[in-house]
């Protein structure tokens, strides 16, 4: 019977093919979206874990600012006094307190904004994923700069080159260039902390302090956060809060894409409905002959429903294949536009996502096939003798 079903579907290859294309795109979108949700959370968690910190001290503001600062080097108008760093370093639970000073330099001529980040040795120690290109080394003086891979490419600089910042009228020596990491580090200019504070006229001020604890257990994190929260003008953002902020941010984007996917799915369903209904109308006499020669109503209903299922599942499988092969390309296309995109790849099709997409599309296909199958099963066998159909 399955052979008959397949042959019937391929009787109109263009119509079936177009239905398959629509279903494949819906399935691919759905698979990507479902995989993306899981991968994004995992990648963000990995990025935050990789920093080896449990919390950040930031100027009073919303958790988003703290989170953004942690991963993207964003800046704020307000800043923290260096005394906050000293208090944090003296806390018995703190293993490492790494200060950061971040500032933006608008480059109106080039229509871009450069982000400059002041770091000290403790902060560099936290960037354990940094890999230098050959010839690079760490800061070797107050006027040395380490460039992210994209920043180096934009400025056409390599280790040992001079770099002049016209906006601040400062000359730097490129001490190192980082290999591409896929993180926001790629586009940043790293300079010694003191240099950054002087350059932007805020000596003794910090924009954030990353905190690593000796014991990263939840009770210890809570107790330390409560103590550090008392530092005037500062607020503590824990890793869990940051993760929550990122996931909330991405949730709205996911909702939008899900809405588009649902629309695509509904359109595909109408396409399946149309294909199967057209098959029923086109084959009225054949179906009536099948009823006349002994196919039951239920048998005919099942056969038509099976056509719908075969089309739907085939579309879903093609879509998963499309997501697996084209997902990477799609990720590269949308990655720059993602809020706080993590460095890890986001698009690896998970079994869960593939199974969920297939099940959803198959169920939808069954729904789309119900009415045409019912119409087919209602065909009277005597129609087989009519010549006008």
């Amino acid at each position: 019977m399955i052979k008959i079903i397949l042959k019937n579907l391929w009787r109109r290859p263009i119509r079936t093919g177009l239905t398959l294309v629509g279903l494949s795109l819906s399935a691919a979108l759905m698979t990507c979206l479902l995989s993306f949700g899981q991968a994004y959370e995992s990648a963000i968690r990995t990025d935050l874990d990789r920093m080896g910190m449990q919390m950040m001290l930031v100027p009073l503001g919303c958790p988003y600012d703290g989170a953004a600062r942690a991963l993207k080097g964003r800046t704020l108008d307000s800043s923290l006094p260096e005394s906050a760093l000293i208090i944090a370093q003296k806390d018995p639970a703190v293993s490492l307190a790494a200060p950061v000073y971040t500032a933006a330099i608008p480059r109106k001529g080039e229509k871009r904004t450069d982000m400059w980040v002041g770091l000290d040795d403790a902060t560099i120690k936290m960037h354990s994923w940094w890999k230098f290109t050959p010839g690079s080394h760490g800061f070797d003086g107050p006027n040395s700069v380490i460039l992210g891979s994209e920043a180096a490419a934009t400025e056409l600089r390599k280790p040992g080159d001079r770099l002049y910042s016209p906006e601040t009228n400062r000359d730097f020596m490129v001490a190192g260039v980082l290999e591409r990491s896929g993180t926001s580090d790629d586009s940043l200019f790293f300079i010694p902390l003191k240099t950054a504070q002087q350059m932007f006229g805020e000596p003794g001020r910090l924009t954030a302090i990353s905190i690593r604890l000796k014991d990263p257990s939840p009770p210890e994190i809570a107790a330390t956060a409560a103590r550090l929260q008392k530092i005037p003008g500062a607020q503590v953002t824990t890793l869990t809060e940051m993760l929550g902020v990122f996931l909330n941010l991405i949730a709205s984007a996911k909702t939008l894409v899900m809405a588009i996917t649902v629309v695509a799915l509904v359109v595909s369903l109408f396409s399946v409905f149309n294909t199967i209904m057209a098959n029923v109308i086109e084959r009225t006499r054949e179906l009536a002959v099948m009823r006349a020669i002994g196919m039951s109503k239920l048998g005919l209903f099942n056969a038509m429903l099976m056509e719908s299922v075969v089309v739907s599942v085939s579309g879903a499988l093609c879509g998963i294949l499309l997501a697996a092969t084209g997902g990477g390309w799609m990720e590269r296309a949308v990655h720059p536009y993602l809020p706080l995109a993590p460095s890890e790849g986001l698009q690896s099709v998970t079994l869960n996502a593939a199974l969920s997409a297939t099940t959803m599309i198959m169920l939808a296909g069954i729904c789309a096939g119900l009415y045409p199958a019912w119409v087919a099963s209602r065909l009277h066998p005597s129609a087989a003798l009519r010549l006008d159909i």
């Binding site: 009823r291 006349a292 020669i293 009277h380 087989a384 003798l385």
Partner: protein
């Protein structure tokens, strides 16, 4: 097949009416028919005389408005749709004027279809019937690659696959030229000689003359039986 006393089809006071707009059309009126096993019956009459409606009733494809009809000893008004479908599948064979072959299937697959529906696929019987109907050389061809006569032979082979008690044919030569009609006529005659009960609706005089009995219909009534 040996003739038995029990008729294959027994119809009493058959009436079939259906609405057409505001009026009721009486397609078949007070028909009593009894067809014995091994008989070859031709139903003739002008267009609209009720031939096809009668064939539908005799073939269990439709139920009468009133009257009773027994097919292979079973009163069809007492059967559920599932039982009636099973009766058609197991006891009856159908040959249609338009052949009714599935265009996507090969000749062999078309012939095998009723056996598959009956959950008793039998490849050797398919070949045997194709041999008998002289179409074995076309076994793997599709209907679109066959002539009208060849298609009707395939339809006859398909009708015989489940070894029916009764073969019902609706204008089996209606779409064929005279030479091809002759060969189909011969084939039907041979099947009857082998003991198969046959009911044919036809306009073809030659086909009707081959029958043991001719039932002539007019306005839904039997006007002559010869």
């Amino acid at each position: 097949m040996q003739p038995s006393d029990q008729p294959v089809v027994q119809a009493n006071k058959l009436v079939k009416s259906y609405p057409r707009g505001s009026e009721i059309v009486h397609a078949v009126v007070d028909i009593d028919v009894e067809i014995q096993q091994g008989e070859y019956v031709a139903i003739v009459g002008a267009s609209g005389s009720g031939k096809t409606t009668l064939l539908q009733l005799l073939g269990g494809m439709d139920r009468p408005t009133s009257g009773t009809i027994s097919i292979a000893g079973k009163e069809i008004s007492k059967l559920s749709d599932r039982e009636l479908t099973r009766l058609r599948r197991e006891q009856l064979g159908f040959v249609f004027q338009h052949f009714g072959l599935l265009s996507t299937l090969t000749v062999a697959e078309n012939v095998a279809l009723p056996a598959i529906l009956n959950h008793k696929p039998n490849h050797s019987r398919v070949d045997e019937l194709l041999e008998r109907t002289g179409i074995i050389h076309r076994r793997n061809h599709r209907p679109s690659e066959l002539s009208g006569g060849e298609m009707q032979r395939v339809a006859i082979a398909r009708a015989l696959i489940n070894e029916p008690k009764l073969l019902l044919a609706d204008e089996p030569t209606g779409n064929l030229d005279s030479a091809t009609s002759e060969r189909i006529l011969e084939l039907i005659g041979e099947l009857n000689k082998d003991g198969l009960t046959i009911v044919v609706v036809t306009h073809n005089e030659k086909l009707a003359q081959c029958a043991h009995r001719i039932i002539q219909l007019s306005d839904g009534r039997i006007v002559n039986t010869a």
